[in-house]
């Protein structure tokens, strides 16, 4: 093999066959199986890319945790949450804010993936996606679902952390759970400064830490006798998918229309902050109504509010039908707009820039 590749270096390839099929043969018909392969490939690439970007992984987790542990803890005394559906008793502010923070994870991810699509388009990765023979709408929806999968991973890690926080462990419970992530984090910081260890060593360390963490989780659940989570972690899955799809398709549409989306600060100011704060993520809407009727109306118009409510009800095994309807309708509209924008003949992509989009 090595001998072969060295001769090939100089261009005289010993073999040029790629498969059993001859060059120039009729390409195979693309059936359902091929569609599924393509879909799986696109989703898997999104997940792989995410897992390889350790900084992104960290920051995605740290953000909601800061809100939960610092903001929510500080806010707890300021804001009383009365009993509103789906809650049946008074809840702590930390409990109230969980669906909002899950929504935040979805929102940040959607915007980040829309930014990466702008970036992709400029580096050309989006163009390699679009020269795939499958229909463009199928490719874009697959890409979207890939982004939702990444967001769902983060959401579940967040829920796992919330579960242990609620468990109110004593003694060495939290140190045990935090040891492996903290160790990996420290090692990573240390290594990016000194580059003392190889990539391979880091991968091994990560695997060892992962194994340790699983052991720690099992030990903690067993030793502290933790029951099932207080919220319905299974019913929330479809809600996360629906809400993620809506935010993802909004982001996909924006990535194809708005040139200014290229820096994250702009997205933060003009999209993420308004959507997040003018919603029911941080405070119940009846509270908002007391202070400003206008803001209340704005919150009602904000699709993000409804995404959060769908998640909130799902966490208690219930369905908020009006919100679900609004979320689904918004998804359909945004997705349609995004597919239109990427349509090569009618789309907005054709009217912008020159070949500068790719070269």
């Amino acid at each position: 093999m090595t001998a072969m590749s060295s001769t090939i270096q100089h261009g005289s390839a010993a073999t040029t066959s790629i498969s059993e099929q001859a060059w120039g043969a009729e390409p195979p018909r693309l059936g359902l199986r091929a569609y599924f392969t393509c879909f799986k490939g696109i989703v898997w690439r999104e997940v792989l890319r995410y897992l390889h970007q350790r900084e992104r992984f960290m920051s995605a987790l740290v953000r909601p945790l800061i809100w939960l542990f610092i903001f929510a803890a500080g806010f707890r005394q300021t804001l009383g949450v009365s009993i509103i559906p789906p809650y049946e008793t008074y809840v702590l502010y930390e409990v109230y804010v969980v669906p909002g923070l899950l929504g935040m994870i979805l929102l940040f991810n959607a915007m980040q993936s829309s930014l990466s699509m702008v970036y992709d388009r400029e580096t050309g990765a989006m163009r390699t996606l679009l020269v795939s023979p499958f229909p463009r709408s199928f490719l874009l929806v697959s890409k979207l679902i890939g982004g939702v999968a990444v967001a769902a991973i983060q959401a579940y890690v967040f829920l796992a952390i919330f579960y242990f926080w609620e468990g109110e462990l004593t003694g060495w419970g939290y140190p045990l759970l935090l040891a492996a992530p903290a160790g990996i984090f420290a090692l990573h910081i240390f290594n990016s400064a000194t580059e003392m260890f190889s990539e391979r060593f880091m991968q091994r360390a990560l695997m060892v830490a992962g194994a340790f963490e699983i052991g720690a989780i099992i030990a903690v659940i067993y030793y502290w006798n933790l029951g099932p989570p207080s919220m319905n972690y299974i019913a929330v899955a479809p809600a996360l998918v629906v809400a993620g799809l809506m935010l993802g398709s909004l982001a996909l549409f924006m990535s194809s229309v708005i040139k200014q989306l290229e820096n994250f600060a702009g997205v933060m100011n003009f999209v993420i902050f308004p959507m997040f704060f003018a919603s029911s993520a941080l405070y119940p809407l009846w509270r908002v109504k007391e202070s400003s009727m206008l803001l209340y109306e704005l919150c009602q118009l904000n699709p993000f509010t409804h995404a959060v409510e769908v998640i909130r009800f799902a966490l208690y095994g219930q369905v908020d039908w009006p919100s679900l309807g609004i979320v689904l309708a918004c998804t359909a509209v945004f997705l349609g707009a995004a597919i239109y924008a990427y349509n090569p003949s009618k789309g907005l992509i054709a009217r912008r820039g020159g070949p500068g989009a790719g070269a």
Partner: protein, 258 residues
């Protein structure tokens, strides 16, 4: 194929571009461009930066639709039969399109998936494609660790995975050192010789043209010349391709000024 009465696939040229114009706002990037790539030929698309090469590539790869004229790949109109056309097309874009954080193998497997190739077949093709470009022993490395020439070769390997009959390369040798340039050129040329691949090779480097190639000269969005190298030299009464190119584009500029 009922909606495609014109040349049948059996005899159609690899690529036909027919009277295609394209503009961005008031800025006409391509004006009435026509060209043809016969099967099994190496066609060089010569043009300076801004000549419209990338726009032409964007149209052929359906980043934008051709509003006027038509583009056919092996007889398949790319607007009406996009799937059949794109299945036969392999592209190496000018900009880098690999995922730096993923390994060579992961990058190529992703491309297999984009063409519906799965499982052991995808792995086999990935391995062979890497052998062709001489990088089989680095399959598990991250693309980030490769040199410019090596990642170019990976991009070529990727464009071959679905065994396209037509390969488009947009300035594939820009920014490469002499050794890498040579190896990239040789890989593609040997595919033309051995497998009868049809190639459209866009460049502004005249020394990449060989006497047996077909040449298309694109200048300010217009096709100024199509034909063989000897024809080009004879028409312009020059001895080298670069002189011929200068003469063709020089006189075109004068015409425009006049």
């Amino acid at each position: 194929m009922a909606d495609d009465p014109n040349p049948t696939e059996a005899s159609a040229p690899a690529l036909v571009v027919n009277n295609v114009s394209h503009s961005f706002g008031d800025n006409a990037a391509l004006k009435d461009v026509s060209l043809e790539i016969p099967r099994g030929r190496f066609v060089v698309l010569l043009g300076l930066n801004g000549a419209g090469k990338s726009t032409l590539f964007a149209l052929i790869t359906r980043l934008y639709d051709n509003v006027t004229g038509e583009i056919r790949i092996f007889g398949h109109n790319i607007r009406r039969r996009a799937m059949a056309a794109l299945q036969r097309l392999g592209v190496v874009f000018q900009s880098r399109t690999l995922d730096l954080d993923l390994s060579l193998k992961q990058n190529l497997l992703y491309h297999c998936a984009l063409h519906g190739i799965h499982g052991s077949e995808a792995r086999r093709r990935t391995e062979r494609a890497l052998q062709i470009v001489g990088l089989a022993d680095r399959a598990k490395e991250k693309v980030r660790n490769l040199s410019g020439g090596q990642s170019r070769r990976v991009e070529i390997a990727r464009s071959l995975l679905h065994q396209p009959s037509l390969l488009l390369l947009d300035e594939p040798t820009v920014g490469l050192d002499i050794g890498s340039r040579e190896s990239v050129v040789n890989i593609v040329r040997s595919l033309v010789e051995k497998e009868g691949l049809s190639v459209l090779w866009a460049t502004h480097l005249f020394d990449e043209v060989r006497p047996t190639d077909l040449v298309v000269v694109l200048h300010k969005g217009r096709v100024l010349f199509t034909g063989t190298v000897p024809e080009m030299l004879a028409k312009t009464e020059t001895k080298t391709v670069s002189d011929a190119f200068r003469k063709l584009t020089g006189s075109a500029t004068e015409e425009l000024a006049a």
